[in-house]
């Protein structure tokens, strides 16, 4: 051995055994990058902590980007329509749900009243030891005049389900302190000193085919696949709980136009309500489903099912990765109290900066 090579040779061997990045880390980094690369219009709804979907595949994204560049031109000419659509049974059921939605009259929010959107959600949380499910429940009070104060009551997160010892250890490590309910209050829904919450519903075409083209166009390049991401967009929009009946109907018809969408469960129960689940199997092993009551046209919620083991260490195939149920009602008053930054302290860095004096944990 050449004596002077020793140090470099040795150095090259030091920590040569480091682990490759985990699939979760690679996916998260990729998702963050694509989030930064996505046009602002492709992000209709702010996802909160833990909501970022893992699992972007090379083919899907690159394919979507090039399809977007070459094919998706306008709302009138685009990806919708000519490639077929959802499975016939799913399309039929969605048409019935759309018809029912149109006959539904939306609750009227009178002056001084609030639309109360109650969200009961479960998300997968992952750490060094394992993955478990935790709750993320809250109630958002949206004023009749959206320039007024919105109030968001966020319940403490609790452990919902664990998957074996590693998972239990992780859950215990993450939930050492008993959390308190957090009340956040902000004019225009600019919670945590962020931008005003604008659900962007005004931009959505009412014609189902144009709507679907619009969705393909604004989500191009994001997600596991263009069709999968179109479903995600629809779920994101419905999850807000503020979509008027006619737009809900258009979104159901747009969903019926997405190839690969099928009825995945005729009796899907979420938070005590039963409906039909419409989902699409994705190559990342996660199926997102939108659950609708076809007789009333109401949105019940959504859930994520793991199609294979190994998406998260120790979590078996068929497990629930997360779910959200949404109910709305009109109330006369919102809870008192609460500040713009809630538990995160005081606003910092100017209005709309998204900065609070205490960083999120």
């Amino acid at each position: 051995m050449n004596a002077n090579q020793d140090e470099l040779t040795l150095l090259r061997k030091v920590r040569d055994d480091v682990a490759a990045p985990s699939g979760v880390a690679l996916n998260a980094g990729r998702a963050a990058l694509l989030d930064a690369a996505a046009p602002a219009a492709a992000k209709p709804v702010t996802r909160h902590r833990g909501l970022k979907r893992a699992g972007w595949t090379t083919l899907g994204v690159v394919g979507a980007a090039s399809i977007a560049a070459t094919l998706v031109l306008t709302n009138v000419v685009g990806l919708a329509g000519w490639r077929g659509g959802a499975d016939p049974a799913a399309a039929d059921s969605l048409a019935r749900a759309a018809a029912a939605a149109i006959t539904t009259s939306d609750p009227v929010v009178g002056s001084g009243q609030y639309l109360k959107v109650t969200t009961t959600a479960v998300y997968a949380a992952t750490g060094d030891y394992g993955t478990y499910l935790e709750s993320q429940n809250g109630q958002m009070y949206i004023p009749a005049n959206r320039d007024d104060d919105w109030v968001w009551v966020r319940d403490p997160s609790t452990v919902v389900q664990t998957f074996g010892p590693g998972s239990e250890k992780q859950a215990a490590a993450d939930h050492t302190n008993v959390e308190r309910t957090e009340v956040v209050r902000a004019a225009k829904g600019a919670f945590y000193n962020g931008k005003p919450l604008d659900f962007g519903l005004g931009a959505l075409p009412r014609d189902p085919q144009q709507l679907l083209n619009y969705i393909y166009r604004t989500t191009a390049g994001a997600g596991v696949s263009p069709d999968g991401e179109a479903l995600v967009f629809i779920a994101d929009t419905l999850r807000t709980g503020v979509v008027p009946a006619d737009q809900r109907a258009a979104l159901y018809k747009a969903l019926a136009g997405i190839p690969g969408v099928e009825i995945t469960d005729n009796q899907a129960t979420l938070d005590g309500r039963t409906g039909v689940a419409f989902g699409r199997d994705e190559s990342n092993g996660i199926r997102q489903e939108i659950i609708i009551d076809p007789t009333t046209g109401d949105v019940i919620g959504e859930r994520y099912i793991l199609l294979k083991a190994g998406v998260y260490r120790g979590v078996p195939a068929g497990s629930l990765e997360g779910s959200t149920s949404v109910t709305t009602s009109v109330v006369d008053a919102a809870p008192a109290g609460g500040t713009v930054c809630g538990r995160l302290g005081d606003p910092a860095g100017g209005a709309g900066s998204g900065e609070c004096s205490t960083a999120d944990k």
């Binding site: 002077n4 040569d16 480091v18 985990s22 690369a37």
Partner: protein
């Protein structure tokens, strides 16, 4: 296969195309960061590509291989994690060296006995920890980033001559730490012995 610079050029009009660069290089950036600071490598990997994406307009398109550029960004991000890195090196000086020897034992030449190798790593780690940051960056980009002198120069945005002097200084310190002294001409020889050219990647 398109070169890195082609992907970056495409991403100016189609931002999502940048994901192709991520798919191509995320793992090597992670590996480099992981060797330097351990677990936080996930964050460095992600941040490196976010910064790169933001600065893609500044990328010199005459350079086909983006790796030196990406390594440079990662190295800058690592500066904010000095304490974490120092801790990792201290760990290697203290107990971690024995584990490393276990890991590399099979590749250590037969005449190097276990204790020797352990001591060697310990001294190496101690020397690297004490090194000026700019010398350490050059050394680790060269040894772990698998860049040649030109690549290290691009990554650190300094002239090749500067890289040469930093690396010579760093390696002298390593040799001193291990009690070995190498003749100057052999140092030069090592420089010439054709390392993989990073620029060949985009072909």
């Amino acid at each position: 296969m398109s070169s890195d610079s082609e992907i970056i050029r495409r991403s100016r009009d189609t931002p999502a195309a940048f994901a192709e660069l991520y798919d191509r290089h995320a793992a090597v950036i992670h590996r480099y960061a992981s060797r330097r600071i351990g677990e936080a490598a996930d964050d460095i990997m992600s941040e490196t590509f976010l910064v790169a994406f933001e600065r893609r307009a500044a990328f010199d398109e005459r350079v086909t291989d983006a790796r030196p550029w990406l390594y440079g960004i990662a190295t800058t991000l690592l500066k904010k994690r000095r304490r974490q890195e120092a801790r990792a090196w201290r760990g290697l000086v203290a107990g971690g060296a024995a584990e490393q020897v276990d890991a590399i034992r099979h590749s250590v030449d037969g005449h190097d006995d276990r204790l020797d190798a352990e001591l060697g790593i310990r001294r190496l780690a101690a020397a690297i920890r004490r090194m000026p940051a700019r010398d350490r960056d050059a050394l680790l980009l060269y040894a772990w980033g698998d860049l040649d002198y030109e690549g290290v120069a691009q990554a650190l945005d300094v002239p090749v001559g500067t890289v040469r002097s930093r690396l010579n200084r760093a390696r002298r310190q390593l040799r001193q730490a291990s009690g070995r002294i190498a003749p100057a001409e052999e140092v030069e020889h090592e420089r010439e012995s054709g390392r993989t050219d990073a620029a060949a990647q985009g072909a």
